[in-house]
């Protein structure tokens, strides 16, 4: 028999409402009674029924997380961090994989609405007015996507991309390329814009290639296009694409970093496993997650968004520009 507030109440000789208070709003109950109730509660291994809570109070202790593709290696560390924080506060996480589809994003919101206390959307693809309409007042926060309409946290690639450009200039590079990912990815546009700004400031010539599919094969295609240019270094939209670039260059016997430096974004787990290991731009998944939840729980008029710093992580795949012939 599962323990309920009634069984606890009976055992304590108090009313169910007092038990409810002791559990959810302890400050409303006398200290003595509170400890007695709490004691019995865990003696009985009481677990609050979230559904009852949701129905009665409207607060469920669950929040939704939407992700375009949980198999994309950028997301799992963020989800893990979200889950860990949620667990610590006794909350749970409803995961929806939207399969990179704006329609499924919208549908997911519709389904989650009313079942969860709030929503964390990782790199949502849909336009924010549409998202906001679907949310209909459900508190939400976005990660790696900005908007005037909704709170968000993003990695601040600007500083890291500046580091990249400074480093590349220092290594003698003069022309670089950006391998573009999906056009509907906000991060993609933003990374290009920020790389563009950084390149301009350091007087690097920058070419944009693509868009290509944000996949290993997309990266391989990008590498072939890249070889038509005179860039000596390339920044790819993400590490998955960069790994494709690396593979294709390897196959074409182009030396990395001897002939060409390759830099990815996201610093996913496998980047250090590649050979040559992949230089990348790291954001802190734990910070993204922590701030996102912060913004979700304590929405304030002032602080509706945040940036977390990112860092250029040089590895074997980037190095001095090749000597001119």
């Amino acid at each position: 028999m599962k323990a309920t507030i009634y069984s606890i109440a009976e055992r304590c000789g108090v009313s169910p409402s007092t038990v409810s208070r002791a559990l959810s709003r302890p400050e409303l109950v006398s200290a003595e009674l509170r400890t007695r109730i709490l004691g019995i509660a865990d003696e009985l291994a009481y677990r609050p029924n979230r559904h009852a809570r949701g129905l009665a109070g409207g607060t469920t202790g669950m929040f939704g997380v939407t992700v375009p593709d949980i198999a994309n290696p950028f997301f799992p560390p963020v989800v893990r961090a979200l889950e860990k924080l949620a667990w610590q506060e006794g909350r749970s996480l409803l995961l929806v994989d939207t399969a990179e589809s704006v329609d499924r994003e919208e549908a997911a919101i519709g389904r989650l609405r009313g079942q969860v206390d709030g929503l964390v959307m990782l790199s949502p693809r849909a336009e924010s007015p549409r998202l906001q309409a679907a949310l209909g007042g459900l508190p939400a926060v976005m990660i790696n996507r900005a908007s005037r309409l909704l709170p968000y946290v993003t990695g601040d690639d600007a500083s890291a991309l500046q580091q990249v450009c400074d480093t590349l200039v220092g290594l003698g590079h003069t022309t670089i390329a950006y391998v573009s990912g999906p056009v509907d990815s906000w991060m993609n546009g933003r990374r290009f814009a920020q790389l563009h700004a950084a390149a301009k400031q350091t007087e690097l010539k920058l070419a944009s290639l693509g868009p290509f599919a944000a996949s290993y094969d997309g990266g391989r295609a990008a590498a072939r296009a890249l070889l038509e240019t005179d860039a000596t270094a390339v920044v790819a939209f993400d590490d998955v694409m960069a790994s494709g670039v690396l593979a294709e260059l390897g196959e074409q016997h182009v030396q990395v970093p001897g002939d060409l430096s390759v830099i990815g974004c996201d610093d996913v787990a496998f980047s250090r496993m590649l050979r040559p290991s992949l230089s990348s731009i790291a954001s802190a998944p734990d910070d993204l997650a922590g701030i996102a939840l912060e913004l979700l729980h304590h929405p304030t008029a002032e602080r509706r968004h945040a940036q977390v710093p990112t860092e250029f992580v040089p590895r074997e795949s980037s190095g001095p520009a090749p000597k001119r012939h």
Copy 2:
């Protein structure tokens, strides 16, 4: 105002219970009425309140998924498949990352119990009596873990490991090694046992190395131990470890597959991205997920567990044994 069965009932001039039936058990309502109700329902963008359903009927439309570490690349494709299937049946998925801890596994079950219709546990670490006790009747199924107590699905590595041994013998190998992962991983013991059986049958000598941490660095350590042996091929517990083996061998200027063949398990996404690309053993995440849900929804006395076939995927990292000097 969110639509409820009451608002629909009113609009239709029927009783709420009829609406409830039309929605949840359509066969109990006359065709004509049913279509009318359903029409109004989606006109009003009605979404059933899962919490109310859970409270009233005891069935919530949610199921829990526990995973030792969502950032381990083996799991996301399985979770994605689970989520996709769940979505199709209008169900949702509560994700818990147990951080490789048996205590957290047990705690997770306790917290999920009463909130979900069932549980899918990916590679649980805790002993099954303990799991079963914690479940207390909550339907559950395990993936990649066997037990007499609970239903499960596992990849059937036996056939693939047999293929591996046959292939290696055909390539002239006579001595191989197994790089062991965590001792509390059931899959680890099983893979070794099955490799052992396959090796015996093909008259391959097999050494076991480790255990090592199931990580890139664990793989690197394993590679150093490996070089002390006279094995010409190695099977690692998983692809993550295998990638460490590859990296360490590369650093030590050991040719792969020239001097040593390396084979991983799981065929995670990055295996084909490595250079040399990693030979591996692939199980079908979609099948694991599909059968798991099948077993969870339709528990029968006969069919309490299943195996899904796996396949050896040879890539660049495995090849002919080196010539004897």
